[in-house]
């Protein structure tokens, strides 16, 4: 459906390098990356607002790389919505109808159709200036959908909306996806990406780091960057992996070894789930994957505490509020932690 082949673009110090991916018809494709990763630039290239230095864009078999933005049929919803402030909501939605030869009735019925989908029929005669952020976002979506784009590009569509409205918006986007709209959605938020994507592509400093179904990316992050983005902080590079009896001994730092039931090739990585790290009493013998260390930080959140244990290398352990009462942990305490064999996952 949409094919990006080796798109490169330099702008000042920043550069997109060899970006290639394929989006199928009806697919919900999410580009995830921190700000400054080049996501918006990539969308603008697909929409035709910027020309790539090299590479090509093909949509439905049609080479579009040098086709002007107003002839591409690609819809883009800007992060700041870019609603025309001097036009009513109705005229904003109908903006793309010019020159299509629609009768007045047809214009009206098409506007109504998209206004109903976006649940903004009561706003049609209003000027944008009095509308809320969520309403403006819906108008922007309706306006772009009204042009019946081959691909819908969304630049951070949930940003600067409050939580309840974000939920409404996610439902709307899911509805569009179910109706068969091909969507490329750009975000910096892993949870947002996870909740919507068929395919998740992670972009960092102008390069694609990993692509795949979100569950797979979450299970097997390809790099420290990806794991950090997905919220995994126990991500270690495997320096050496040796077979010891029926286990594998993985060196992650000089003097620090993790035991795993699976091998890990050098330069690959190993991750540990935060909620599977256990705190042990400091008596008894030291077993495999048991470390003594000091608590350097305790970070509270509504459902759990993140406890940072320095045992020559930092481990992040997740402790529920209930557990915290029993364990009575404090910053500066020396503690013993155990990482179950099955929680050490080479990726």
């Amino acid at each position: 459906m949409l094919e990006l082949k080796k798109i490169s673009k330099r702008a000042g110090d920043f550069a997109l390098q060899d970006i290639s991916f394929h989006v199928s018809k009806g697919e919900y494709f999410v580009l995830l990356g921190v700000s400054g990763a080049g996501k918006t630039m990539l969308l603008e290239i697909i929409a035709g607002l910027r020309n790539p230095d090299s590479g090509s864009i093909v949509i439905n078999g049609r080479e579009l790389t040098h086709v002007k933005a107003n002839k591409r049929g690609v819809g883009l919803v800007f992060q700041d919505n870019a609603i025309f402030p001097h036009l009513s909501v109705e005229k904003n939605i109908a903006y793309s109808f010019h020159g299509k030869g629609y009768s007045n009735n047809e214009v009206r019925s098409r506007v109504l159709k998209w206004a109903e989908t976006m649940n903004i029929t009561d706003l049609l005669s209003r000027k944008p200036s009095g509308l809320s952020g969520g309403e403006i976002r819906r108008v922007a979506l309706a306006r772009t959908l009204a042009m019946e784009p081959t691909v819908l590009l969304l630049d951070e569509p949930l940003s600067s909306l409050d939580v309840l409205i974000q939920y409404d918006m996610i439902r709307l986007l899911k509805k569009l996806h179910e109706a068969g709209q091909t969507i490329i959605h750009v975000t910096h938020d892993f949870n947002e990406a996870y909740s919507l994507a068929d395919t998740l592509t992670i972009i960092n400093s102008g390069k694609i780091e990993q692509t795949g179904p979100p569950a797979e990316v979450f299970r097997n992050p390809a790099s420290r960057f990806v794991s950090a983005l997905t919220g995994i902080r126990n991500f270690f590079t495997c320096l050496e992996s040796k077979r010891v009896e029926n286990l594998y001994c993985i060196r992650i730092k000089d003097g620090i070894h993790l035991y795993s039931s699976e091998p890990c090739s050098p330069v690959a990585s190993v991750i540990i789930r935060e909620d599977e790290i256990a705190f042990l009493p400091k008596d008894g013998s030291v077993d495999n994957n048991v470390f003594d260390g000091e608590i350097t930080d305790i970070i509270p959140s509504p459902e759990f505490f993140s406890v940072v244990v320095n045992a020559g290398i930092n481990f992040f352990a997740r402790v529920t509020n209930e557990e915290m009462k029993n364990l009575n942990l404090h910053t500066g305490d020396s503690v013993r932690i155990k990482i179950p064999l099955g929680s050490v996952i080479p990726v």
Binding site: A47, L49, K71, A82, F84, P85, H86, H98, M147
Partner: protein
């Protein structure tokens, strides 16, 4: 409350108000003085004078013509200057301000050299049987020359204030550049453009130096006032001046009101 009160009576505030009032007084006093020294019957008398009436009509007509005619090119130029970067852009911007900084009599000399019968422009006009020197068209050209910077700069500010993202959004929605200009850029910059048109019109109407060199006759009102003052003295020139100011004020108030309702 007490904070505001103490701020109001602070010595610094008093000095600010005092100095500001002096400047306001300086601006108001001469005009107020002129109005006070002129009786209503003087003004009526002046309004009945066909020479005065003709000159006011001529002034309004030539200034309006200069403004509307040059706007056709000035607004696109302002758009280019707001949106595009090119070599020598700073030079072009400086060039546009040139009429503001040169003496207007010098500007008049330059215009005269440009439109007199032996120049290309003069020959072109004479094909249509017009001698630009001493012609209302020549007056309009002189007015346009000295007042265009006001329109170009205001329109440019207006276009700069229109976010480029709105134009990009329109482009992605399938609009052609010309439709984007007329449906997005122009309406959103309209307030500044109208303000520029009014300023240019006002500046053109009040022009004396450049106009008097291009055309002493037919007389625009600033030249008429000067001529009456030179020939008959202050008391003779004053009623025409007051009448002209009243007509100008009326025009600007009406124009401002019209554009205000349009923008609201």
């Amino acid at each position: 409350m007490s904070g505001i009160k103490s701020a109001l009576i602070s010595p610094f505030r008093i000095i600010l108000i005092l100095l500001g009032s002096l400047i306001l007084l300086f601006l108001i006093a001469p005009i107020a003085g002129m109005f006070l020294a002129t009786t209503v019957s003087d003004i009526f008398e002046s309004a009945k004078d066909t020479e005065v009436r003709d000159s006011i009509w001529l002034t309004l007509f030539t200034a309006m013509g200069a403004t509307l005619f040059t706007a056709i090119g000035a607004i696109p130029l302002a758009y280019i200057l707001a949106r595009k970067d090119f070599k020598l852009k700073r030079f072009v911007l400086g060039l546009i301000d040139l009429p503001i900084v040169i003496p207007h009599s010098a500007a008049g000399i330059a215009i005269l050299g440009f439109i007199s019968r032996d120049t290309a422009m003069g020959k072109f006009a004479s094909n249509f049987g017009i001698d630009l020197v001493g012609h209302p068209a020549g007056i309009s050209i002189a007015m346009a020359f000295v007042s265009l910077p006001f329109l170009i700069n205001a329109a440019r500010d207006g276009f700069i204030s229109v976010p480029v993202r709105l134009e990009k959004a329109a482009l992605v929605l399938g609009a052609s550049p010309i439709r984007i200009f007329f449906s997005i850029s122009l309406p959103l910059a309209w307030k500044n453009i109208v303000s520029g048109l009014i300023m240019m019109f006002a500046r053109g109407m009040s022009e004396f130096g450049a106009v008097v060199i291009v055309a002493y006759h037919p007389m625009v009102t600033p030249v008429l006032i000067f001529e009456r003052f030179g020939s008959f003295g202050l008391s003779y020139a004053r009623p025409a001046a007051v009448l002209f100011i009243l007509v100008s004020l009326l025009f600007f108030v009406v124009l401002r009101l019209l554009t205000k309702t349009k923008n609201a």
